[in-house]
Amino acid sequence: MMAQREPTAGAGLRVAADTGSCYPDWAAVYADNAIWVYRMIVKRIGNVPDAEDLTAEVFLAALRPLRTTATVAQVRGYLRAITRSVLAAHWRQTTGCDITSIDDVPEVSHEADHAVDIAAAQQVRRVLASLPDNYRRILDLRFLQGRSINESATQMGVSVANAKVLQHRALRRAAALTEKDEH
């Protein structure tokens, strides 16, 4: 398995840790960057099928015109820029507005990006903690534990119809809290 962090982790098949050096060929570019590009997309898309398609789109767009003389840092910035545009286009096509986005910066360090991940996880915990118990429970069961609506209803001791209503209302409340936090 290749490296997992975006965009400068050092484990796995990373072939060019020195960001000032160059990749020997396109296969090295792919091996070094495929996983962080995918991860950057999937956590902003929320589903695997679209994340796989968008990752493929990024590399299909990127590799063919890529200059072999570009440095590792330039390649990563280039991939990040393409990923950003591909994600924006995806949202415009599917929902008509940007749901999530990628910061418009040339390259984010591993430390900075990891900090963003931690901040996002903390934000989720903060929002969940602000919800009434039954709202927090249904979101935890459905989104964090991946339980079905039937399993969640059983766990909570409510009907399936009631669990659906709870989930709907809990998500609305959580979204309102998140929006309030952001403004």
């Binding site: 398995m1 290749m2 997992q4 396109w26 296969a27 792919y30 495929a34 996983i35 995918y38 991860r39 999937v42 956590k43 902003r44 929320g46 589903n47 695997v48 099928p49 679209d50 994340a51 796989e52 398609d53 990752t55 493929a56 789109e57 590399f59 299909l60 767009a61 990127a62 590799l63 063919r64 015109p65 890529l66 200059r67 820029a81 393409i82 950003r84 545009s85 591909v86 924006a88 286009a89 995806h90 415009r92 096509q93 599917t94 929902t95 008509g96 507005c97 749901i99 999530t100 996002a120 989720v124 989104f143 964090l144 989930q167 998500l171 609305r172 959580a174 979204a175 309102a176 998140t178």
Partner: protein
Amino acid sequence: MNARRLRRYIDDLLYGRRPRPFDADRFEAAQIRTAIELRAARTASGAPSEDFLTDLQRRLAAWIPGAQENADPPNGPHATRRQVVVAASAAALAGSAGVVAGAATERVAPDGRSHANRPSMQPGDGSWQVVAASADVPAGVMRPFDVGSVVGFVVGSTANPRRSRGCARTRAAGCGSTGP
């Protein structure tokens, strides 16, 4: 009506399916964003499958000239739904709206052959937009652009015979295009 579409979108997310598109308003967008953040909190690693990585690598090998001679083309049996949709949209676009000619040629026929001999199409309802100066897009360099309703990339290409006139190839997400 949108409430049902939003519920269906969230259900698709929860079941790992590809959500069906719909035009979301601001608060619906916020709910989708929250759902994605909750899902992301669950999938801590978010790593792709080995099968996907291997398959994409093979498709890229077929896509990049000289990398591999006998691999399946990207629009072959392993083409993604998105590639197919983009190709279909581009074909429809080329035949109707008349915004650009040779739309998404690299996706419609990703066989590495030049399509430079195709005739240019004049804009009908649309218009040509300047997305970058030629000097800013030397051969082999990509620049992203965003002109409101269209987001894409412009790539300087030595394979493009019009290059000598300062032209470049553009690729717009969702409606790829070529033009000066």
